[in-house]
Subunit: 207 residues, 2 copies
C-alpha cells in the first residue's frame, strides 16, 4: 500500500514551511524540508547553500550557463540537473519509509505515482509576505517586494522546467490556501482535517 | 460594513454549484446562481439561455463577431459586453442586500472592493467531471471530455477578457479544493468552517 504523504508547495514568505512543520507535529509525522538538502549534500558533496538555491530555483547563473552550453557539472550534465536527479532519489526514498510531510522541491510531482498524496499549495498576497520575510529574515539591499517577485519567478521557472506544469495552478493541488487571509493556524487545522478524512465515494460525488 | 459573501468559481462538472447551494443551506444564506441569469434576462429582455451562455463563456460566435467588428448589440456594444455590464449591476445589487453565496459569473472579481469575500475555487480531474456530467446532463454527440475541454477553455477566456487575470490561478482564491478527490460533502464542511472563522491577526501570521 502506498504511504499517505502531505506535500506542501508554497510561495516564498507565505509561511508554508511553518504550516508544514505544525501539520507534521499535530499528526505525529516527520517533516522533511532542510533534511532533504542535507541528504542531497551528503550524496553529492555539494554545499547545502548551493543545493538550497539550485534545488528549487532556476538561478540566473543556470540560465546563462544553459544558454552557452557551458557550466557542465558531474558526468557532463548541469549541476542543476544533477541536483534534480539526486533530489528525486532522496524524495522517493523518504516516501517509501512511511507517511510524512514534505515541503517544496516538486515533491508533489515526483511522488505523483508513488504515494497517496494530499497536495497542498500555500500562498499569500505581496504585502503580507513582505511583512513576514522582513520579520523572519531581516532587511537587505533589495525591497522585500523585489525579493519576493524574484523568488516567485525563479521558483515557477524551476517547476515548469522539470514538470512541464504551471506552478500555482489550482488544478494541481487538492487544496490551496491563502495563509495571509486565513491565518497560519487555520491552514494547519484545514490540512490536518483533510489528512484525517477518508473521501466518500459514489453517492456523494454524483448527488 | 461590507457584507460577508462567498463566491464560488468552479470548473464545469466539478460540483461547484451543488457545493455552493449546500454551503448556503448550512449557513442559512441565499445562494445566487440561476437567479442572476433571471434578473439579467428581466433587465435586458434577452433569453435566459443566451445569457447563461454569454454571461460566463466566450462563445465561438463572439470570437468571430469580435474579429469582424460586427454583431453589435444594444447601443453599439456587443451583446456579450452588454450582458457583462448588466450582470455587474445585478451582482453589485445582490451584494449590498446582505451576506450570501454567489456561484460563478466573475463575482470574485466584480465584488473585490465591495464585499468581505471568501473566494472559493472548485475543480476536479477530467475523469471525475466526465462521470458527473454524463450522470447529470446525459450523453450527447460529443464525448464528455471534449465538452469539458471546450467549456474550460471558453470560461477561462471569458474570465481573462474581463478581469485580465488567469482563471484557476490559486493566488486569486482564499481556498481552492479538488472536489473529485476530497468529495462534495468535505468541500462543504471546509467552506462552512472557513466562513465561520475569524482570522487571527499579528502573532499568528508572524510566528
Amino acid at each position: 500500500m502506498k504511504n499517505r504523504i502531505i506535500t506542501v508547495s508554497r510561495q516564498f514568505g507565505s509561511g508554508g514551511r511553518t504550516i508544514g512543520k505544525e501539520v507534521a507535529e499535530r499528526l505525529g509525522l516527520k517533516c522533511y524540508d532542510a533534511e532533504i538538502i542535507e541528504k542531497v549534500a551528503e550524496q553529492s558533496g555539494m554545499s547545502k547553500e548551493y543545493i538550497a538555491e539550485c534545488g528549487e530555483y532556476t538561478s540566473y547563473r543556470t540560465w546563462l550557463t544553459g544558454m552557452f552550453a557551458s557550466g557542465r557539472g558531474i558526468n557532463g550534465i548541469s549541476n542543476q540537473d544533477y541536483i534534480w536527479v539526486a533530489q528525486n532519489k532522496v524524495i522517493l526514498d523518504i516516501a517509501r519509509e512511511g507517511p510524512c510531510v514534505i515541503v517544496g522541491r516538486c515533491a508533489d510531482y515526483i511522488l505523483r505515482d508513488e504515494a497517496d498524496l494530499l497536495k497542498v499549495f500555500i500562498h499569500a498576497d505581496m504585502a503580507k509576505r513582505a511583512e513576514r520575510i522582513v520579520k523572519l529574515y531581516g532587511e537587505n539591499s533589495e525591497t522585500p517586494e523585489k525579493r519576493l517577485r524574484d523568488k516567485d519567478k525563479r521558483r515557477a521557472a524551476y517547476y515548469k522546467f522539470y514538470t512541464e506544469l504551471e506552478w500555482g495552478d489550482a488544478i494541481h493541488y487538492d487544496v490551496a490556501l491563502d495563509s495571509g487571509k486565513l491565518g497560519i493556524s487555520k491552514c494547519v487545522d484545514v490540512i490536518v482535517d483533510l489528512y484525517n478524512t477518508k473521501p466518500v465515494e459514489g453517492e456523494d460525488w454524483l448527488k
